[in-house]
C-alpha cells in the first residue's frame, strides 16, 4: 500500500530542519517523510474498522513535522514510524463516508474506566495518550499502529467516526477537523457581544476561527490581521468587521477600542526625523478583550500581548513550539493565556465540538477554503504549496486519494 | 631713522678705521645745519596704511580665522546673539562696545558677521598700543588697529578715522575709553558718536559680558570661562543731533543690551522704555558696595535650557530674576 511515512531518523530531521530554513516545506524532499510501500495497518482490537481516506488535509503541525521543527514535547506522545494525516474524510468498507476525530483517547485504547476528561467527552485533555492497547500517539496520524490519512488506508475506532451527511461534499467534510480546532479556540475566547476580538493570522485556523466567532459570539468588532489579499477577502466574507495587515493591527485595535498607546507622547522638543508606518509592536494602554492567535509564532504572541487589554485573554490556537517571548506584559497586565489544542465537549453550547464543527462548515461554506488537492506521489509539491499557501493565494491544501490507482485493490 | 646717535667730531684721520663711505653708510650731517625735530612715528601718528594693503589683510585674515578664533573659543566659549538685528545693514558701520578685557577685541572681531569681519579696523589707544614700533606694527597687523588718542579729542586721528570710514572701512570702538577696572562700566566718550555724525554711518551697539571674569584688567593670566556678545539694532544719527546726545543714546542702547543679556529682551525693553535700565556704571559709593552690586547682576541660567509646556496654566514657576 502506498503511504507517506515519517521515520525516526535524526539525521533526516536535521537535514529537513536545515532545508526548511531555505524555504518552508522543503523538508519534504530531504527529510524524514518518504513515499513508501507499506502493509495496510491491521485493526488492533474489536471496535476498529478500516477507513479508506478520500481527502486528507495538510495541517500546520504536519508541516512542522515534515520540516523537522516539531517540538521535542511530542517525543513521548508519538510512535515511529507513522503515517501523517489527521484531517481525514474517508469511507468505510460499507461505503459510508466518515470524518475522523483523530484524538486517540481512553476509548480507543480500551482503557476502562476512562480518565475523568474522557468520561466527560473532553478528548483533547485525555491523560492516557501513551498508554493502553495502542502505541503512544496523541492522534491518528502520529501513531504507528493506526496509520494516517496520507495513505490509502488506516484503521479507526468506532468512537472516532462521524458520519458525513449525504449533502456534504468531501471538500467540506475535510474542513470539519480544522474547523473544530478553531471553533474550540474561538469559544475559549469567552468574549461578549459588546467586545472587541482579534484574530491574528488568516490561514485555515484563522479563517475558521473568524467564522466561528462570527457565528457564536458575533462581537461588536472582529478584527483580523491578514497578510495576503486572498485572506483579506475571505476574512471579510466570513464575518470580520476589519481586516488589516498584521503590522497595522495594533493601530486598528487602538482605534477600535478607543484606547491610547505608549511611547509617542511629546516630552521631546526635537521629534525623531524617522519616517515610516506604525511599529508592529506599538504598545497599547487598553486593547482587545480577547485575542485568538492562530499563528503561534513569537511575533504573533508578542503582538497579542501588546494588543490585549489588561485582564484580557489570549487563546493560542496555532501550534507554538519553543518561543522566546517577553512575558512581562502577561504578568503586569494580568492577561490570561490559554491554549486550544483540539476538541472534545463545549460546555458553552453544551455539545461536542465536532457536532458544532459540522454545522459551522455547512453554514459558513468552509468548503471554499480547500484551494488545491494533490495525489500522493506529488507530495513534495503539495507540501511546498501548503507551506506557502497564503502567499500563493491558497488556504487549505489536501491530498486527494479518491483517484489513486491502487485504491480499489486494497 | 630718528635714533641715529650724533657722531662725535673726528679727532684725526690717522685713527680712521677702514669703513665704507657715504653711499654705503649714512651721510654725515653738515656742520652748521640745524636738524628739525624728527616727526614722531609712534603713538597717534603711527601710519597704519601698510596694514590695509592686500598682503597684510590676508595675513590678518589667516591670523584671525586661525589662532585668534581658536584661542577665543577656548578661552571665552562665546554665545553670540542679536546678529539678526544687523540684517539689512549695508556698508560701513561703527561698532561700539563696552570694554572689560583685552579679550574683547579678538572676541568681537571673531563675532562680527560678514561682510564687516574682514573690513573692520579697531580704534586702539595710541598711548597703549602704539608706544613703540613693535607693538604698533603688531597691533596694526593682527587686529587692524588704528591709533586713537583717548586723552583728548585729537583732530588728526579723528580726521584719519573719518577718512577710513568714508573709504568703506568699519570701525570697532570702545567708547568707554578703556577697560573696566572693577567690572562696572564707565561713561561713554563722544568719539563714536562724533564719527558717526560726521560720516553719517550707523552705530551698532554691542554688549560684551563675561570677558572681565576671564581676563580682566590686572589679571596676570586668563581663566577660561563663558562670554556673551549681544548685538543691538543699528542706531542712525538723527538730523541735527549733537554728538553728546547721540553718545547718550549709544550708552543707553548698550545699557539696554546689558539688561537684555542679564534678564530677557522683553523686561529690558520695558525698563528701557521706562528709562530704568540698570546703569552700566553701577551704584555710587564705596568700592565694596559696587562689587557687591555686581554680584547681583550675574547672569542667570539661559532660559532656553529649561523648556516649558506651552500652556500658561501648567508652566513651571519661573525663577525670579
Amino acid at each position: 500500500m502506498k503511504a507517506l511515512q515519517v521515520e525516526r531518523s535524526l539525521p533526516r530531521f536535521a537535514v529537513a530542519r536545515a532545508a526548511s530554513a531555505v524555504a518552508p516545506g522543503r523538508g519534504a524532499r530531504v527529510g524524514p517523510l518518504r513515499l513508501a510501500e507499506i502493509d495496510p495497518p491491521a485493526p488492533p482490537g474489536p471496535g476498529w474498522q478500516r477507513v479508506r481516506p478520500r481527502l486528507a488535509g495538510i495541517c500546520g503541525s504536519d508541516l512542522a513535522t515534515v520540516d523537522g521543527k516539531a517540538s521535542p514535547w511530542f517525543e513521548p506522545v508519538v510512535s515511529f514510524p507513522f503515517v501523517p494525516g489527521h484531517e481525514v474524510v474517508g469511507e468505510l468498507d460499507d461505503g459510508r463516508r466518515v470524518v475522523l476525530e483523530p484524538v486517540l483517547g481512553c476509548a480507543t485504547r480500551a482503557i476502562d474506566p476512562p480518565c475523568p476528561a474522557c468520561a466527560q467527552g473532553d478528548l483533547s485533555r485525555c491523560r492516557n495518550i501513551a498508554f493502553g492497547c495502542l502505541e503512544p500517539g496523541l492522534q491518528t496520524g502520529y501513531c504507528s499502529v493506526t496509520g494516517g490519512g496520507w495513505s490509502l488506508a488506516l484503521v479507526a475506532h468506532d468512537s472516532q467516526l462521524h458520519t458525513v451527511p449525504e449533502a456534504m461534499s468531501d471538500e467540506a467534510a475535510v474542513m470539519v477537523e480544522p474547523a473544530a480546532c478553531a471553533l474550540r479556540g474561538a469559544l475559549k475566547a469567552q468574549a461578549g457581544r459588546e467586545g472587541v476580538v482579534v484574530v491574528i493570522g488568516a490561514g485555515t485556523l484563522g479563517l475558521c476561527a473568524v467564522a466561528a466567532l462570527h457565528r457564536w459570539v458575533a462581537p461588536a468588532r472582529l478584527l483580523v490581521g491578514a497578510k495576503h489579499p486572498q485572506q483579506h477577502r475571505l476574512a471579510g466574507e466570513l464575518g470580520a468587521t476589519d481586516v488589516v495587515a498584521p503590522s497595522s493591527l495594533p493601530r486598528a485595535v487602538r482605534r477600535a477600542t478607543g484606547s491610547s498607546a505608549f511611547g509617542q507622547s511629546g516630552d521631546d522638543s526635537s521629534p525623531p526625523a524617522r519616517a515610516g508606518g506604525s511599529s508592529p509592536m506599538m504598545q497599547l494602554t487598553g486593547g482587545a478583550d480577547a485575542v485568538v492567535d492562530c499563528v503561534g509564532s513569537a511575533t504573533s504572541l508578542a503582538q497579542a500581548l501588546a494588543i490585549v487589554r489588561p485582564g484580557g485573554r489570549i487563546v493560542m490556537v496555532g501550534m507554538p513550539g519553543p518561543l522566546a517571548v517577553d512575558l512581562t506584559p502577561l504578568w503586569q497586565r494580568e492577561v490570561e493565556l490559554v491554549g486550544a489544542y483540539a476538541y472534545g465537549f463545549e460546555p458553552g453550547p453544551g455539545r461536542r465540538t465536532f457536532d458544532l464543527a459540522f454545522e459551522l462548515v455547512a453554514d459558513a461554506g468552509l468548503d471554499r477554503l480547500v484551494s488545491a488537492t494533490y495525489p500522493l506521489h506529488r507530495h513534495v509539491a503539495a507540501l511546498a504549496h501548503a507551506a506557502e499557501a497564503g502567499g500563493r493565494g491558497a488556504v487549505k491544501i489536501a491530498f486527494d486519494l479518491r483517484r489513486e490507482r491502487e485504491r480499489d485493490r486494497i | 631713522m630718528s635714533r641715529l646717535p650724533s657722531l662725535p667730531s673726528l679727532p684725526g684721520a690717522r685713527f680712521r678705521v677702514p669703513r665704507p663711505g657715504f653711499p654705503w653708510s649714512a651721510p654725515l650731517v653738515p656742520r652748521g645745519y640745524e636738524r628739525p625735530p624728527a616727526a614722531p612715528h609712534t603713538g597717534a601718528d603711527y601710519d597704519t596704511a601698510w596694514a590695509r594693503r592686500p598682503l597684510a589683510r590676508h595675513v590678518r585674515l589667516l591670523v584671525l580665522e586661525g589662532p585668534i578664533r581658536l584661542g577665543v573659543r577656548a578661552l571665552t566659549a562665546p554665545e553670540r546673539t542679536g546678529l539678526d538685528r544687523l540684517d539689512g545693514l549695508e556698508g560701513a558701520a561703527i561698532f561700539a562696545a563696552n570694554h572689560h578685557s583685552h579679550l574683547d577685541t579678538p572676541l568681537l572681531l571673531t563675532s562680527l558677521p560678514e561682510p564687516w569681519r574682514h573690513r573692520v579696523l579697531v580704534a586702539a589707544a595710541a598711548d597703549y598700543f602704539f608706544t613703540n614700533r613693535l607693538t604698533s606694527a603688531a597691533s596694526a597687523l593682527a587686529i587692524g588697529a588704528i591709533p586713537i588718542e583717548r586723552t583728548r579729542i585729537e583732530r588728526r586721528s579723528a580726521d584719519r578715522a573719518a577718512g577710513l570710514i568714508d573709504d568703506g572701512w568699519s570701525l570697532l570702538i570702545f567708547p568707554e575709553g578703556g577697560r573696566s577696572a572693577d567690572g562696572w562700566g564707565r561713561g561713554h566718550r563722544g568719539g563714536a558718536a562724533y564719527l558717526a555724525l560726521r560720516t553719517a554711518v550707523p552705530v551698532v551697539p554691542i554688549h560684551v559680558e563675561g570677558t572681565g571674569a576671564i581676563f580682566g584688567k590686572g589679571d596676570k593670566r586668563p581663566t577660561p570661562g563663558t562670554s556673551r556678545v549681544t548685538f543691538g539694532a543699528p542706531l542712525h544719527p538723527r538730523d541735527g543731533e549733537s554728538a553728546t546726545r547721540f553718545a547718550g543714546r549709544i550708552e543707553t542702547a548698550v545699557a539696554a543690551l546689558a539688561d537684555e543679556a542679564t534678564t530677557d529682551w522683553w523686561s529690558a525693553r520695558q525698563r528701557a522704555a521706562r528709562g530704568t535700565s540698570p546703569s552700566l556704571s553701577g551704584p555710587e559709593g564705596s568700592s565694596w558696595r559696587r562689587t557687591w552690586a555686581l554680584g547681583e547682576r550675574r547672569r542667570p541660567r539661559r532660559s532656553g535650557s529649561s523648556r516649558s509646556r506651552s500652556s500658561g496654566a501648567h508652566s513651571p514657576a519661573w525663577p525670579r530674576i
Binding site: R255, G266, P271, G277 | D264, R309
Partner: protein
C-alpha cells in the same frame, strides 16, 4: 530691471523640456507640442527698510487708530501669529513674524503694557517645537516669554482655554482662544503667502476649536468654494467672515498685521528651479545635472532632510496693519500683484509637479494624503473664475508619493490611510462615517495636546480640501508614484509622463489640450 509678469508659453518644437518638481527631487519632461505652460511672475522687489516699513504700518494703520493709541498700561495684550505652515519653504532668519512682533512689543513696552501673551495660532495643526518657535519669533522673544509660559502653542482641546462667542446668522458656533477673546487687544501677525490666507480666517480659523472649525472645514463648504483662493467665491471665506463678525460683535478688538512675501522660493544654487528653462545658464544646467545625479544616489531619508533644510530667500514685499477687512483688501491686492497670471481657456489635461513641501509637512514627511491635498487641494485651487482644467478633464500629478508617514506628526493620517481609504475615497461618505470617531479619539487628542501631532480630524480636512477637485475632475493620474499608495488614494499610477498622457486619452480623447502649471513659485491663474 523690473520683475517680469507671469505668462503662458505655447510649447513648440524648439521649446526645451519642462521642469517638474517631483517631491524631494525634480525632473525634466517633454510636453506635447501645442501644450501651454503657465509661468509665474518673477519675484517682486523686497521692501528696502523692512523694520522701518513695519513701524510705519503700526503708526499709520488702515481704518484704525495707531497701535500706540490702542496700548495702555494695565491692559491685556495678546499677540497671535501664524504657525509653521507659513511661509513655504520656511524663510531665512530673521523671520518676518519676529520683526513684526518685536516692533509691536517695542511699542507695548513704551506704552507700559505688562500683561502680554504670545500664541502660535495653529488651530488643529501640530504644536511647534522650541526650535520652530525660535525660528518664527526669534530667540529674544522666545527667551523672554516662553520660560514664563507667556509664549505658547494654541490648544484647541483645552476646554478651560476656549471661549464661546455665540453663533453666526447661519448657526455656526464661534469658539476661539479664551485669552484672545478676553484681551483688550488682539494683535494678529500674519504672513500672507497665498490668497487664501489672512483676513478673518486668521483669527476665526487659527485660534478656533474643532467645534467651530467643523462649520467651514467640511465637504459642502469646500465643494462650494470655487476656489478657496478667491475669497469672493469661497464659501470657506464667507463662513470665516461671518465668524469674524461674531468675534467683532463680541467686543474682541483685533489689530491685524498682514505681511506679504515675494515668490523668491529657492536659494542659490537651486534658483534655476524658478527660472524659465530656456534661460538656464551653463551654471544652472550643471547644477541641474549634478544635483539630479547626486540625488538619484541619495537615500530617501537624506534627500528629505536636504530638501527640508531649504530656507527660502523670499522676503517682505509689503506690510499693512489695522482693521481686518481693510487690511486684507490691501494685502490681497499685493498678493495678486505678485501671483496673478492670466490664462485663456481651460484645458483637457492639467499637469502639476508637486514640490517637497506643503503646509503640513514642514520638517516632516509628505505622506500620500498630503500629496492628494497639495495636488487636488492647493494647486488645483490656485485659480480665479474657472479651474485651469475643464470639468471632466484629467489632472496629472508628478510626485513619488511614498508610502511613508511621520509617526509623530501624522499618527491619525496612518489610521486614516489604513482604516478609511481602504473602505472609500468619497469625501461625503468619509465625513459621514468616520470624521467624528477620529475627531474624538482620545489618543489623537492627547498627542495633539502634548506631542507634536496633527489633530485626529486633520487628515479629513486634507481630504475635504480636494473635494472640489474630486467632483470636478474626470480622472487623476500620479506619475512616478508608489503604485499601491496611489491606488489607495483612488488615483491611477503611471510610470512616465508619456504613459500618463496615454492613459488620460481614455478620458479626454486622442487630441487633448494640455496646460502645465509651472508652480512653484506660487502663482494664481485667472482663467477666462
Amino acid at each position: 530691471m523690473s520683475p517680469r509678469p507671469g505668462f503662458v508659453l505655447e510649447v513648440d518644437r524648439s521649446t526645451p523640456p519642462t521642469l517638474f518638481m517631483h517631491g524631494n527631487g525634480y525632473r525634466l519632461e517633454h510636453l506635447p507640442v501645442g501644450s501651454r505652460i503657465v509661468y509665474p511672475p518673477e519675484p517682486l522687489p523686497v521692501v528696502r527698510d523692512i523694520d522701518g516699513a513695519i513701524r510705519d504700518a503700526l503708526l499709520h494703520p488702515v481704518d484704525s487708530d495707531p497701535l500706540p493709541a490702542l496700548l495702555f498700561p494695565g491692559m491685556r495684550l495678546t499677540i497671535a501669529f501664524d504657525d509653521i505652515s507659513l511661509p513655504l519653504p520656511p524663510m531665512r532668519r530673521p523671520d518676518v513674524r519676529q520683526r513684526v512682533i518685536e516692533a509691536v512689543l517695542d511699542l507695548a513696552a513704551e506704552a507700559g503694557v505688562d500683561d502680554v501673551h504670545l500664541i502660535a495660532a495653529l488651530a488643529l495643526h501640530r504644536r511647534m517645537t522650541e526650535a520652530e518657535l525660535r525660528h518664527a519669533v526669534g530667540d529674544r522673544v522666545y527667551d523672554a516669554f516662553a520660560p514664563r509660559g507667556l509664549l505658547y502653542n494654541f490648544d484647541a482641546e483645552d476646554p478651560d482655554a476656549l471661549a464661546s462667542l455665540g453663533e453666526t446668522s447661519q448657526g455656526e458656533e464661534v469658539e476661539i482662544s479664551k485669552r484672545a477673546a478676553e484681551s483688550d487687544l488682539l494683535v494678529y501677525v500674519n504672513i500672507n503667502l497665498v490668497a487664501m490666507d489672512g483676513g478673518h480666517k486668521s483669527t476665526a480659523t487659527g485660534l478656533a476649536s474643532y467645534r467651530s472649525l467643523r462649520h467651514h472645514h467640511n465637504v459642502r463648504t469646500m465643494q462650494h468654494s470655487r476656489s478657496f483662493m478667491d475669497q469672493h467665491r469661497s464659501e470657506l471665506h464667507s463662513s470665516n467672515w461671518r465668524m469674524g463678525e461674531v468675534i467683532r460683535n463680541a467686543g474682541v478688538k483685533i489689530f491685524q498685521i498682514e505681511t506679504t512675501l515675494n515668490n523668491d522660493t529657492f536659494p542659490k544654487p537651486f534658483d534655476f528651479l524658478q527660472k524659465r528653462e530656456w534661460e538656464w545658464s551653463l551654471r544652472d544646467r550643471s547644477s541641474y545635472l549634478a544635483s539630479t545625479k547626486a540625488l538619484a544616489r541619495t537615500p530617501d531619508r537624506v534627500r528629505r532632510s536636504i530638501f527640508q533644510s531649504v530656507l527660502a530667500p523670499h522676503n517682505m514685499t509689503g506690510v499693512n496693519a489695522g482693521d481686518v477687512e481693510a487690511v486684507h483688501e490691501l494685502t490681497t491686492a499685493k498678493v495678486m500683484e505678485q501671483q496673478l497670471v492670466h490664462v485663456e481657456g481651460q484645458a483637457d489635461i492639467l499637469t502639476l509637479g508637486l514640490p517637497h513641501i506643503c503646509p503640513y509637512n514642514v520638517h516632516s514627511v509628505m505622506n500620500p494624503i498630503l500629496v492628494m491635498c497639495t495636488g487636488l487641494g492647493y494647486f488645483f485651487n490656485l485659480y480665479r473664475r474657472r479651474p485651469l482644467v475643464r470639468e471632466g478633464g484629467v489632472l496629472i500629478v508628478s510626485h513619488p508619493t511614498p508610502w511613508a508617514f511621520h509617526p509623530v506628526h501624522h499618527p491619525s493620517y496612518i489610521d486614516f490611510f489604513e482604516e478609511v481609504l481602504t473602505e472609500t475615497t468619497d469625501p461625503l461618505e468619509i465625513e459621514k462615517t468616520y470624521e467624528q470617531s477620529f475627531a474624538e479619539d482620545e489618543w489623537y487628542r492627547h498627542l495633539y495636546r502634548t506631542s507634536y501631532a496633527y489633530h485626529g480630524v486633520h487628515p479629513f480636512y486634507m481630504w475635504y480640501w480636494g473635494a472640489h477637485a474630486l467632483q470636478h475632475l474626470g480622472g487623476v493620474i500620479i506619475v512616478g508614484g508608489d503604485a499601491k499608495a496611489v491606488r489607495r488614494l483612488g488615483f491611477k499610477p503611471a510610470t512616465t509622463m508619456g504613459d500618463a498622457l496615454e492613459m488620460a486619452s481614455d478620458v479626454v480623447g486622442r487630441d487633448p489640450s494640455l496646460t502645465h502649471f509651472h508652480c512653484p513659485p506660487l502663482m494664481l491663474a485667472e482663467v477666462t
